[in-house]
């Protein structure tokens, strides 16, 4: 019973604690700011999806930068902060998606395409070497000779 009371009081105090933390808008510690901005550049803003939360001025991006700063202040490292955001917004917040089952094609796709393209090209080239054109007939020899010494005009057929 006492434990529950204590827990209830603690829970009631939670929002108060939360609001107290918010009062620090931007810290004047340049090292911390640099860390916040560096990590923020790798995090996608979910409101304007082609901007990172470092670049975006959407209210959510500002909130998330504040979250990153606060968690650094609380002693968390980069990996912990990233985990915190991924747990809420999913891998989509990461500009560098993790290597796992669902992203296999994303990571390996370009390599596979390259290998497939190079393989196809090699196959074509080898086939071309093997393909020897059939020898010219006597008639074609005569026409070629005539064309070469300029005594015959190219026919319609040969021009096309």
């Amino acid at each position: 019973m006492l434990m529950r009371r204590v827990a209830l009081v603690a829970a009631l105090l939670l929002p108060v604690a939360g609001q107290a933390g918010e009062a620090v808008p931007v810290s004047d510690d340049p090292v911390l700011e640099e860390r916040v901005m560096r990590l923020s550049h790798d995090l996608r803003c979910l409101v304007c999806q082609n901007q990172s939360i470092a670049e975006s001025n959407a209210p959510l991006a500002v909130d998330l930068r504040n979250q990153v700063r606060e968690q650094f202040l609380a002693g968390k490292d980069e990996a912990a902060v990233v985990d915190y955001l991924v747990a809420r917004y999913g891998d989509f917040v990461l500009y560098l998606p993790p290597f796992k089952g669902a992203t296999l094609l994303l990571w390996l796709g370009p390599g596979l395409l390259l290998v497939a393209g190079a393989g196809w090209l090699g196959w074509r080239l080898r086939r071309r070497v093997r393909e020897v054109p059939p020898p010219l007939s006597a008639e074609e020899h005569a026409r070629a000779a005539a064309l070469l010494d300029g005594s015959a005009k190219p026919s319609q057929e040969s021009r096309s």
Partner: protein, 198 residues
């Protein structure tokens, strides 16, 4: 090798297939990693009853909807009549999460506003909006002044709605305004399914 001339056509059809599928995807709908996870807990003041708080714990054992809204949210105005209508017959309580009522309004300068004034202002604005927009469909609304609860729930656009089961697990997330169609085709069947499971 006779059908070689068809190869570009096949490549075209393949590309068209992929691109056509891409057109149907909505990039604004980011799947939530919270589906199947316990709803993040909180305890904050209620919007309507001044001396009471609300927490997801209070709704344990029930299926309920958590609807994120704010008076500055334009899409909420389209959603609101649907919610008011649904609330009359809804088999489950709709709990509001009033999200950044004061801070979220870009038109206001809130620097240096103390929490007590902010809470009072949020209550006044939100209540007035409810009156002006057809009533209060919520069993209770939680006041999330600084958007922290929103972040815990992965909210990135208002309105959003979460369906939470008897065990307090998030089962579904609807992004954007709820329409009569999405209620009928998705939410109501999902609610019924969860209630049958109990």
């Amino acid at each position: 090798m006779k059908a070689k001339f068809l190869v570009p056509l096949f490549i075209f059809l393949l590309l068209a297939g992929f691109l056509g599928y891409g057109l149907k995807l909505n990039p604004r709908e980011v799947p939530s990693p919270l589906i199947g996870k316990p709803a993040p807990t909180f305890r904050v003041p209620q919007l309507q009853v001044e001396d009471k708080t609300i927490s997801p714990e209070d709704l344990k054992g029930r299926v309920w909807l958590l609807n994120v809204w704010a008076s500055w949210c334009i899409s909420c105005r389209y959603e609101h009549p649907v919610l008011v209508e649904f609330a009359r017959t809804s088999p489950v309580p709709i709990v509001g999460l009033n999200y950044k009522e004061v801070r979220g309004d870009g038109a206001l300068d809130v620097k240096g506003l103390d929490p007590v004034t902010e809470l009072a202002s949020a209550r006044q604005r939100a209540r007035q909006w409810l009156v002006e927009h057809g009533g209060d469909p919520y069993m209770v609304s939680a006041v999330d002044l600084d958007g922290r609860i929103g972040i815990d729930y992965g909210v990135y656009g208002v309105p959003e709605t979460f369906l939470i089961d008897q065990q307090g697990v998030i089962r579904y997330k609807h992004i954007g305004p709820i329409t009569r169609e999405s209620l009928r085709d998705v939410l109501i069947p999902k609610i019924a399914e969860l209630q049958r499971a109990s």
